[in-house]
C-alpha cells in the first residue's frame, strides 16, 4: 500500500508535494522512513527519502511561501485545533495560526492547547468512552473560549470533533484551514 503511493509520488517531478492532512504528511515524512527501513528495498529507501524531502504539510508550505495578505472581513470567534502529528512529529507549531490570523479572524486561545482530540485512529473505537471524553474536553475548551468555529489542518481530528459536537448539539462549525483561507481570498477578490 505505502509502496504504491511511494511509486506514484516518486515518479512525479513536482518540486513540492503538498498534503492537506497533517497525519498523512507525517506518514510520508516521518513514518515512511522507518517503514522502508524495516521492510523495504534500497530503492524504496532512496525514494522515500527523496519524497519526504519535498513533502510539505499544507499550512507549512503556504506559510513558508509567505502568508497571503488577505485580511478578510470574517470575524468569527475561532479556536485553532493543533493536531498531535503536526505539532509533535512534524514540529509545525505556529504556521497554521499565522495563516489563520491573516484572514482577520477572531482567533482565541484555548485551555486545551495542544491536547489530543481523542481520535487516534483505532483508539476511537477501541476505547470509545475515553475517546469521547477527550473530545469533550477539547470542545468544552473551545466553547469556554467563546468560539463558534474550530479550524484545523487534520481531517481526522476535525471528523472526530465534529461527530461528537453534532451528537452533543454544540453550535460549532468545523473547517479545514484551507477552506477558511479560500473563503477569505474569495471575499477579498470580490
Amino acid at each position: 500500500m505505502a509502496r504504491t503511493t511511494l511509486r506514484a509520488l516518486a515518479s512525479s517531478d513536482a518540486e513540492a508535494i503538498v498534503v492537506p492532512a497533517g497525519s498523512c504528511a507525517t506518514m510520508i515524512r516521518v513514518f515512511w522512513r522507518e517503514l522502508f527501513e524495516l521492510a523495504g528495498t534500497d530503492e524504496d529507501r532512496r525514494q522515500a527519502e527523496q519524497v519526504a524531502a519535498r513533502t510539505y504539510e499544507f499550512s507549512e508550505f503556504l506559510d513558508a511561501s509567505g502568508a497571503p495578505e488577505n485580511a478578510g472581513a470574517d470575524r468569527t470567534p475561532t479556536v485553532y485545533h493543533r493536531s498531535c502529528h503536526m505539532l509533535r512529529e512534524l514540529g509545525i507549531d505556529r504556521q497554521p495560526e499565522r495563516l489563520l490570523d491573516s484572514t482577520g479572524t477572531d482567533r482565541r486561545p484555548t485551555a486545551a492547547e495542544g491536547r489530543c482530540c481523542g481520535f487516534g485512529g483505532l483508539f476511537s473505537v477501541k476505547l470509545p468512552e475515553v475517546s469521547v471524553a477527550m473530545a469533550d474536553e477539547v470542545l468544552d475548551a473551545a466553547k469556554g473560549a467563546g468560539a463558534e468555529r474550530v479550524v484545523g489542518c487534520d481531517t481526522s481530528c476535525l471528523l472526530q470533533l465534529e461527530s461528537r459536537a453534532q451528537r452533543r448539539g454544540d453550535e460549532l462549525e468545523f473547517r479545514h484551514l484551507a477552506e477558511v483561507l479560500d473563503q477569505a481570498a474569495t471575499e477579498t477578490e470580490s
Binding site: 516521518v30 513514518f31 522512513r33 522507518e34 527501513e37 524495516l38
Partner: protein, 217 residues
C-alpha cells in the same frame, strides 16, 4: 536463590547482540561533555543561595557579620525551644554553651527517641548549593543524621565560602568535599519538609522540620 554470578550472567546474555535502534529517533552519542548550562545568574553564589533558599521557604536568621549569640537569641525568641540538640559539626562550636546560657536545655548525644524530644536541631552544613538554595549535611562530621530531621525547627550554620554554584559542581568535586571517602549519609536539604499529596496543595512540615533557618557564617 539466584546468585550474583547467575544474575549478572543473565544480564550479560541479553547484551551479546547490539541493541536494535529506533530509526525515527536514533540515540545520539551526545557524550556528557560540559556540565549542565543554566539560565540563572550564578556569578554571586551567596546572593543566589539566599534568594533560592528563601524562595523555598527557608528563613535567613543571620549573616557572617552577626554575632553568634545574637543569632541564637533571636532564634530562641522566635522559636521558644525548650530543648535543643546540637551536632558535632565544626560550625556548631560554641553553640551549646550559649543556648544553655539562654535557658535552653541542650540534650546530650543520644538515639532517636532522645532527639525526638528536642524542638530545635542545630547543625552545621558541610556546604551549600547556590542554584537551588540547598544545604549539604554530612553524617560523618555531624555524627547524627537526626538533628536536621526530627525536631520541628532546624537551624543550619553555613560558611559563606562553601557554596557551590550548582548541584553538579558539588557532585563533580565529591573527593574534594570528602577527602576521607563518602560518609554513610549525605543529604541535600532544600527548605522545610513538604508534601503535595492532597490536591497538590503544598503543605509544610509533614515528617521533617516545619521550619528551616539558615545562618551564614
Amino acid at each position: 536463590m539466584t546468585t550474583r554470578a547467575e544474575f549478572l550472567a543473565a544480564v550479560r546474555d541479553r547484551l551479546r547482540e547490539p541493541i536494535p535502534e529506533n530509526h525515527l529517533r536514533p540515540l545520539t552519542e551526545a557524550g556528557l561533555g560540559e556540565p549542565i548550562r543554566y539560565a540563572v545568574e550564578l556569578s554571586d553564589p551567596e546572593a543566589r543561595f539566599l534568594e533560592a533558599a528563601t524562595g523555598v521557604g527557608a528563613e535567613v536568621v543571620g549573616r557572617p557579620e552577626d554575632d553568634l549569640r545574637a543569632i541564637l537569641e533571636r532564634v530562641r525568641d522566635d522559636v521558644r525551644p525548650a530543648r535543643a540538640v546540637v551536632t558535632d559539626d565544626p560550625e556548631c562550636k560554641g553553640v551549646a554553651p550559649i543556648l544553655a546560657s539562654l535557658g535552653v536545655e541542650v540534650l546530650a548525644a543520644g538515639g532517636p527517641s532522645d532527639v525526638a524530644t528536642a524542638d530545635l536541631g542545630v547543625t552545621g552544613a558541610l556546604g551549600g548549593v547556590a542554584l537551588t538554595g540547598s544545604l549539604v549535611m554530612d553524617s560523618g562530621r555531624a555524627r547524627t543524621r537526626l538533628a536536621s530531621l526530627l525536631p520541628e525547627v532546624h537551624l543550619a550554620l553555613l560558611a559563606r565560602d562553601r557554596i557551590a554554584a550548582t548541584p553538579g559542581d558539588f557532585l563533580r568535586e565529591l573527593s574534594r568535599w570528602f577527602p576521607d571517602g563518602l560518609p554513610s549519609n549525605i543529604v541535600f536539604i532544600t527548605g522545610p519538609s513538604r508534601s503535595a499529596d492532597i490536591e497538590l496543595e503544598i503543605t509544610v512540615g509533614v515528617h521533617g522540620p516545619r521550619k528551616v533557618l539558615v545562618a551564614l557564617r
